[in-house]
C-alpha cells in the first residue's frame, strides 16, 4: 500500500512509515512499563497488591497504597515533562534543520534560569505561573539571540556555529547567574536544588500549571508538522510548495521554546531528552515529522520516566535527580552525533 502511494499524481493514501504499527505498539508497551516502574519502585518497593490498592481502591488506606498514590503525581508530571521535551527537541531540530538542536545545547535553559533567578531575587516570584512567565521570557530572548548569532555569515546556522554560540551564551549567562546568586544566600538555596532538574517535588498544582502550555505546544507541533516536512527540503523548495517559511519558523520555534521554557520553569533544566528522543524516534520511523513528532512525545515521556526511575534505583535509598541521569545518558548521544562526519562541515 505504501509503496504504490505515488501513482500518476494520485495520492489518496498517505505514505505510512513501514514499521509504524509495531513501533508505536512497542513505544506504548514501554510507556506502560515505565509508568508501572515509576509507580512501584523507589526507596520503598511496592508490591503488585499495593499497586492495585493504591490505584483502583481509594477506600483502602494502607501505608503501601498511600506510597503508590504519592507517586502518581510524580509519574504524571514526568510523563508531561518528557513529552514536552521530546516535542520541543523535534521542533527545534526541524526549524533549524540541525541535528544537534536541543534546549540545553542551545543555551535556552540557561537563559530561562537567569530570568527565574532574577525573578526570585528581585521580584519575589513564588507561583508556578510566575516561574513559567519568567522562564519563557528568558528562553525566548536567548533562543532568538543564539540563533541570530549562530546563523550569521556563510552557510547559515551550521551545527558547529549553533553549538558554539549556545555554549558561549550559556557560559556568559551563567556568570550573570552567579553574580546575582552569591550575595543572596536565600536565593542560592532555592537555586541549588532547582538547577539540577528534578521531577521529585511534583505536585498536582504544578501539573495543572504545566498542562495548558503542553497542550498549546503540542497543538502547534501537530499542525505545523506537515509544513515542516516541506521545510526540510530547503527554504526555496518549501516556498515553492506554498509554505510561508518565515511564519512557519516563527510559530514552530515559538512552540518549541514554549515547551522547554515551561519545563525548565517547573522542573529545572533537564538536558538531552530533547536531543535523544527525536533521534531515537527517527531511527525507527524515518524522517516524516507527521509521525515522528507525536512519537517523540511518546519516547520523550518514556525516556524521562525511565531516567527518573534509574535515578531512584542507582543511589538507593536516596535518589539521583533526573537531570543528572539524562546528562549521563544523553551526552554520549551528542558525542555519537558529533562523530558522524555529516555534522562536521
Amino acid at each position: 500500500m505504501s509503496k504504490s502511494g505515488f501513482n500518476g499524481g494520485e495520492r489518496d493514501v498517505p505514505l505510512l512509515p513501514k514499521r509504524l504499527a509495531p513501533v508505536l505498539f512497542a513505544f506504548l508497551l514501554l510507556l506502560l512499563f515505565s509508568v508501572a516502574a515509576s509507580l512501584s519502585l523507589g526507596s520503598r518497593t511496592s508490591s503488585l497488591q499495593e499497586l492495585k490498592d493504591g490505584l483502583f481502591h481509594p477506600a483502602i488506606n494502607t501505608y503501601g497504597a498511600n506510597v503508590v498514590r504519592k507517586r502518581i503525581s510524580r509519574t504524571v508530571f514526568s510523563l508531561c515533562v518528557g513529552s514536552a521535551l521530546g516535542v520541543s527537541g523535534s521542533l527545534m531540530q526541524a526549524v533549524t534543520r540541525n541535528p544537534i538542536a536541543d534546549p540545553s545545547i542551545l543555551g535556552v535553559n540557561t537563559g530561562a534560569a537567569l530570568f527565574v533567578v532574577c525573578g526570585i531575587a528581585f521580584f519575589q516570584i513564588t507561583t508556578a505561573l510566575q516561574y513559567i512567565g519568567a522562564a519563557l521570557a528568558g528562553a525566548m530572548i536567548t533562543a532568538v539571540f543564539v540563533y541570530g548569532v549562530g546563523s550569521m555569515g556563510r552557510g547559515g546556522a551550521t551545527p558547529i556555529k549553533l553549538a558554539l554560540a549556545g555554549a558561549a551564551t550559556s557560559a556568559a549567562l551563567s556568570s550573570a547567574v552567579s553574580a546575582i546568586l552569591l550575595p543572596r544566600s536565600y536565593v542560592m538555596d532555592q537555586y541549588r536544588f532547582w538547577q539540577v532538574g528534578s521531577v521529585g517535588s511534583a505536585t498536582w498544582a504544578g501539573v495543572a500549571a504545566f498542562l495548558p502550555f503542553l497542550a498549546i505546544g503540542l497543538l502547534i507541533a501537530v499542525f505545523s508538522s506537515a509544513a515542516l516536512n516541506a521545510l526540510a527540503l530547503g527554504d526555496e523548495a518549501a516556498t515553492g510548495l506554498g509554505v510561508r517559511t518565515g511564519l512557519l519558523r516563527l510559530v514552530s520555534a515559538f512552540g518549541g521554546v514554549l515547551l522547554c521554557a515551561a519545563t525548565t520553569a517547573l522542573a529545572g533544566p533537564i538536558g538531552f531528552i530533547g536531543l535523544l528522543a527525536p533521534h531515537v524516534t527517527r531511527l525507527f520511523l524515518g524522517a516524516d515529522l507527521r509521525y515522528t513528532i507525536p512519537a517523540s512525545a511518546l519516547s520523550g515521556a518514556v525516556f524521562l520516566t525511565i531516567a527518573d526511575v534509574i535515578g531512584r534505583l542507582l543511589t538507593y535509598p536516596g535518589e539521583l535527580e533526573v537531570g543528572i541521569v539524562t546528562a549521563f545518558v544523553g551526552a554520549p548521544v551528542l558525542i555519537l552525533a558529533a562523530r558522524r562526519a555529516k555534522v562536521c562541515t
Binding site: M152, I160, A163, A168, A171, F328, L334, I335
Partner: protein, 343 residues
C-alpha cells in the same frame, strides 16, 4: 633590488620583534604593579615600609598575618593561575586555530573541577590528593575527548562538539556533588562553579609553582612549531614538523597547566579565553609566543580580583568578575567570526 627586498623584510622583522619585547615588558610591569596593589590593599592599609618588613619575615602585630597569611597567597594564586590559564588558552587557540577553543569550552577545566569537587565534598581528602585528583581527571577528560575525536581525520568542529558533550556530563557530576554535599561544604565547593582566590593557603600553591616553572619552558620551546602548525595540518607537515608529536606535547603541557590552576583556584571564567586574542592584538598577528598571553592572563586575574574585592558592596569572587567582563567580548567575537566565515 634583491637587497632592498631583504632589507625591507629584515626591518619589518626587527619592528615586530621590538613590538613584541615592548608589549611583553609593559605587560610584565603591569602585572608587577597589580601584585604590589594586591599586597598593599585590604581592610587595613599598612604603610609600604611595614608591608616590606612583614614580607622580609619581621613580626609586626597584625601586619604579618594580613600580609603573609592572607594577601601573599592570594596574590600568588592569582598570578600563577592567571598565567597558566593565559598560556594554556593561547596554546589551545593557536593549535586548534579557533579563538573559541579554550580549556573552558572544550571540557578540560570541567574535568578538573569535577575531580576536585568530588574529593573535597564527598571524600574530604587533603589538599595534595585534591590536586592529584583534579589533574588526573583533567587529563582523563582530555584523553577521552581525543580518543573520541580521533576516529578518522582530526577535525576542529568535531573536537568542539565532543568537548561540549563531555562538559555536559562533567557539570552534571559537579551539580550532583554540590547537591549531596553538606551545607557547610558548599561555600568551599562554590569556588568550583566560578573560581575564587579566597582563603588560599601557601602550601596548596606549591604544586602550581612547580608546574608553572617547569611547563612554561617546555611550551615555549614548542612555540616555533606552533606557529607552523597554525598554517594548517598539511602545511606544517610539509615544512617538516612532526605534527602529532608537537600537538601531543603542547596538548599535555596546556592541559597540565590549566588543570593545576583549576585545582588551586577553580575555573576562573574566560581568562584562558580572553588572554590569547587580546595579547595577540597587542603584539601583532603572526607571533604565536604565548608569553604575553600568560602575562595578560595574570594581570587580568589580579585586576578582576581587586575589582571583586573593593569595587562593590558585596565581595565577589574573581570568576564572577572575569565572567561579566568576558561575556560581552565573547559575544562580539562570535558575531565577528561568523561574519567573516571562520567556520
Amino acid at each position: 633590488m634583491k637587497n632592498e627586498t631583504l632589507a625591507f623584510i629584515y626591518s619589518g622583522r626587527q619592528q615586530r620583534r621590538r613590538r613584541f619585547a615592548a608589549v611583553t615588558i609593559l605587560l610584565g610591569l603591569l602585572t608587577a604593579g597589580l601584585c604590589c596593589a594586591m599586597l598593599l590593599l585590604g581592610n587595613t592599609l599598612y604603610p609600604v615600609a611595614t608591608v616590606i618588613e612583614a614580607l622580609r619575615g619581621e613580626t609586626i602585630k597584625g601586619a604579618t598575618f594580613a600580609v603573609k597569611t592572607i594577601r601573599l597567597p592570594r596574590m600568588c594564586a592569582g598570578l600563577f593561575a592567571g598565567f597558566s590559564f593565559g598560556i594554556a588558552g593561547s596554546v589551545f587557540q593557536t593549535m586548534l586555530r579557533n579563538p573559541l577553543a579554550n580549556p573552558n569550552i572544550i571540557g578540560i577545566t570541567s574535568g578538573s573541577s569535577a575531580g576536585a569537587v568530588f574529593c573535597i565534598v564527598l571524600l574530604h581528602t587533603n589538599a595534595a590528593t585534591v590536586y592529584f585528583a583534579s589533574i588526573a581527571s583533567g587529563l582523563a577528560a582530555a584523553l577521552v575527548m581525543f580518543l573520541l575525536v580521533n576516529g578518522g581525520k582530526f577535525s576542529n568542529a568535531r573536537l568542539i562538539l565532543v568537548g561540549i558533550g563531555v562538559q555536559a556530563m562533567l557539570s552534571a557530576v559537579v551539580n550532583y556533588v554540590l547537591l549531596k554535599g553538606s551545607e557547610r561544604d558548599i561555600p568551599t565547593a562554590m569556588r568550583w562553579l566560578s573560581g575564587s582566590l579566597n582563603g588560599t593557603w601557601m602550601t596548596e600553591l606549591y604544586p602550581l609553582f612547580i608546574g608553572v616553572w617547569t611547563l612554561t619552558p617546555v611550551v615555549l620551546i614548542y612555540t616555533k612549531r606552533l606557529s607552523m602548525l597554525e598554517l594548517g595540518e598539511e602545511a606544517a607537515a610539509t615544512m617538516g614538523v612532526n605534527t602529532s608529536k608537537t600537538r601531543a606535547a603542547l596538548m599535555i603541557g596546556a592541559v597540565l597547566l590549566s588543570s593545576m590552576a583549576t585545582a588551586a583556584t577553580g575555573p576562573i571564567a574566560f581568562v584562558s579565553f580572553l588572554a590569547g586574542p587580546i595579547a595577540k592584538r597587542l603584539v601583532g598577528y603572526g607571533n604565536t609566543n604565548p608569553l604575553p598571553a600568560g602575562l595578560f592572563g595574570a594581570a587580568l586575574t589580579l585586576a578582576a580580583d581587586l575589582l571583586g574585592q573593593f569595587a562593590f558592596e558585596t565581595r565577589f569572587p574573581v570568576g564572577v568578575i572575569t565572567g561579566l567582563l568576558g561575556a560581552p567580548y565573547l559575544i562580539l567575537l562570535l558575531i565577528r567570526m561568523n561574519r567573516t566565515g571562520a567556520f
